[in-house]
Amino acid sequence: MIQAQSVGVVTPQTAHFATPLPLRSGGVLPSYDLVYETYGTLNAARSNAVLVCHALSGSHHVAGRYADTPDNIGWWDNLVGPGKPLDTRKFFVIGVNNLGGCYGTTGPVSINPATGKPWGAAFPFVTVEDWVDAQARLADLLGIERFAAVVGGSLGGMQALSWTLQYPERVGHAAVIASAPKLTAQNIAFNEVARQAILTDPDFHGGNYYEHGVVPARGLKLARMVGHITYLSDDSMGEKFGRSLRHGKAVYSYDVEFEIESYLRYQGDKFAGYFDANTYLLTTKALDYYDPAFAHGGNLAAALAGASADFLVVSFTTDWRFSPARSREIVYALLHNQRNVSYAEIDCAAGHDSFLLDEPHYHAVLSAWFDRIKV
């Protein structure tokens, strides 16, 4: 066992696709770019590729750092690298920014070739299934017929699950982490509050704010603040911030008094400074729409009948946004179909965000699972 290391300096790549992509919403993307990163080396048999799918605000930058911005470390850097659970000495790991994104992949901020202006509100709705279709085309381009594993947390877990249903013959293993087979009404409700914050921002301009030279920063900030509340647990928030007062006592003001207010405002402002509001809208809708059981009369076991991958499902005890009960639905639907599946419910205080942390037991389970995968 070597000391776990970083994959080091990485460089994103862009793949251009000229073949139109039909979308579940009825729209068509005439052509598009996907930005992606890879870590490790594809073996001669092309059998060691692992796709890492990102969640709401994630990107293709899964691991490593950029030469020009060394502080910009990949969002799952603690998982991916030499000697890490997803070991790049064994696996060829791919991170790809999804369609509709704002990190270089074609999205609302990109130029619509038909108009010469940013897509903005005209960018078509994209679904989890559409993302998987696009990822499959990238796999074709990279010469990967079958992934050793497809892995993701939260919305990324939905993509991993969807891969096993859309392209069962192309997925050997799937890790579905802190995810759900569909959102609950409460979960959609949080997304709707976030969307309303953006949609009602005076700077939104019906989604075409780019041509007005503004961004709906207030709406995006509020959306992120609501999101952040749901990603943490009551306990972790209490432990981190409690009722700590910046001035040590109440000063009867609407400026920051409680430390949690400071944290949420900071996170909101930071996010609004780099993320695209239209991407946020599209992505939350993709989350809401995802429901593979819908076409099977709500019967998840029937929906998963076509999957042939071996599964690992992981949830976290304090995650109330994607609760363990939702992961168990996936587990028992897979079990009904006699799929190989293991399920771990990790005791971690950090709520939904737990899946991004390197909690030792969580990473030990992932290590053990990845170690078993033959390439």
Partner: protein, 195 residues
Amino acid sequence: MAAYRYDYEVITQWITPGERVLDLGCGDGSLLKHLMEVRQVQGYGVENDPEKLLACVRNGVNVVQANMDEGLSDFEDGFFDHVIMSLSLQAMHNTQGILAEMLRVGHEAVVSFPNFGYWRHRQSILNGRMPVSESLPHQWFNTPNVRFFTIADFEALCEINGIAIRERLAFDEGQLVKDEANFLASVAVYRLGRN
């Protein structure tokens, strides 16, 4: 772990190749791994101890984390050919509940447990101390066991609950016991069903 092996062999004899098997309290998954190898079962373990669950993943055994004392409500009726509980029944609070659940989700249940009526255990109590033996390796203050019962107690419970004892094998530290099992056997292994 030597205490486990002879009940593993009995259990293996009762499993038909290709069965669906659920192992409750599956530990590191070694029984399931054995059954996968020699009986090609589609096996799943249930375990709630994080370290044991990790060991199962390392062993390449399907394992589902769940608290068995909360029942098996996520499992479907009659889904499994055999539901196994090897040397764990005495550590369950809801004895009747779990037996009923095993026979709900499985066509047959296989249960093994240490016999508190074993003569060495009786002797120990007569000498004024709680028994510690190969089949009861813990001290009274650190034992995971919460139910203390004998072969006779268990069979009376099956009678009350309408559980059919289809087969029983009893052992004294690995040796098959033919007669006076409640006195001479340290461990009993049962194949149970519903009539």
